[in-house]
């Protein structure tokens, strides 16, 4: 019963990790996943979230086996 959590770019550096697994029985939404994975760190205001590689809001539900990612605004191109 796990959710895979990924952090990218400045968020990966701030949290000093790129990827971890959390116990999904403790998380029902994206916001819950952040709280478990990021500990005490408040979520930066402009954070972008994705569930299974699709953009998602903080109230988006998560389930066993999901991949949840957090990252700053994108700057490609």
């Amino acid at each position: 019963m796990t959710v895979k959590v990924k952090f990218f770019a400045s968020m990966r550096e701030t949290l000093n990790q790129s990827e971890l697994d959390i116990d999904s029985s403790q998380a029902s939404t994206v916001a819950d996943v952040w709280q478990i994975a990021a500990g005490d760190l408040p979520m930066p205001e402009n954070t972008v979230c994705a569930v299974n590689q699709t953009h998602a809001g903080l109230t988006h539900p998560v389930a066993d086996g999901d991949e949840v990612a957090f990252f700053p605004p994108v700057t490609g191109g």
């Binding site: 990218f8 590689q53 700057t75 490609g76």
Partner: protein, 196 residues
């Protein structure tokens, strides 16, 4: 037709040390970056190509066009090439690292192409984006649209580029000339008023 200068030019290219260096740079990128796994290096016929090594936008355009389009079917080709500058926000920049979210990047770019195809009568679209360590002058992004008439090619090319900028998960980290590093926090506005 006089082929002499062409042959000399090709011979010169084969012996050009700067080209050999480029080859080394590709090999380094392949061995150092997990995103550069050989399995993930795209084919030149793919609509979406994430490239861990240097690429030639003109060569890739030609390769894609020759393999995916039929001569005579298209009347308009619009392309955009984004190249790394050596300055940003009044600072000199000596290098940049492009990070991305493998998997989501490809699916977002494909979704952007699908959106464009819903809106314009496109024959084909190509998006190529560099990842990894780059230096000023390196191409970062290539967007090309082929259509029967120019309106669709122009408009869809602009749409793809702006959508990529706002939706595709890439991040830039700059290295300034004093070796300090900083993340690029936001993109510039892609729309400017016409000059008078």
């Amino acid at each position: 037709m006089n082929r002499g200068p062409v042959s000399r030019s090709l011979a010169k290219k084969r012996n050009d040390p700067s080209l050999a260096q480029t080859r080394v740079a590709i090999d380094n990128a392949d061995s150092n970056s997990p995103a550069a796994d050989k399995n993930t290096v795209p084919e030149p016929t793919d609509n979406v190509q994430i490239r861990p090594g240097p690429f030639d936008p003109w060569q890739l355009t030609q390769q894609f066009q020759e393999s995916r389009l039929t001569s005579g079917e298209f009347g308009a080709t619009a392309s955009f090439v984004g190249t790394m500058r050596d300055f940003n926000e009044n600072d000199d920049v000596q290098a940049m690292t492009l990070e991305h979210y493998p998997g989501m990047t490809e699916s977002q770019l494909q979704a952007i192409i699908d959106d464009a195809q819903q809106q314009w009568p496109l024959l084909q679209s190509l998006i190529v984006h560099r990842v990894g360590d780059i230096t000023p002058g390196d191409p970062i992004v290539l967007v090309v649209c082929w259509s029967a008439h120019r309106a669709a090619a122009f408009d869809a090319c602009r749409f793809l580029m702006e959508a990529l900028k706002s939706r595709a998960p890439f991040w830039k980290k700059e290295t300034l000339t004093d070796n300090s590093q900083r993340w690029v926090e936001k993109n510039t506005d892609g729309h400017s008023p016409a000059a008078n």
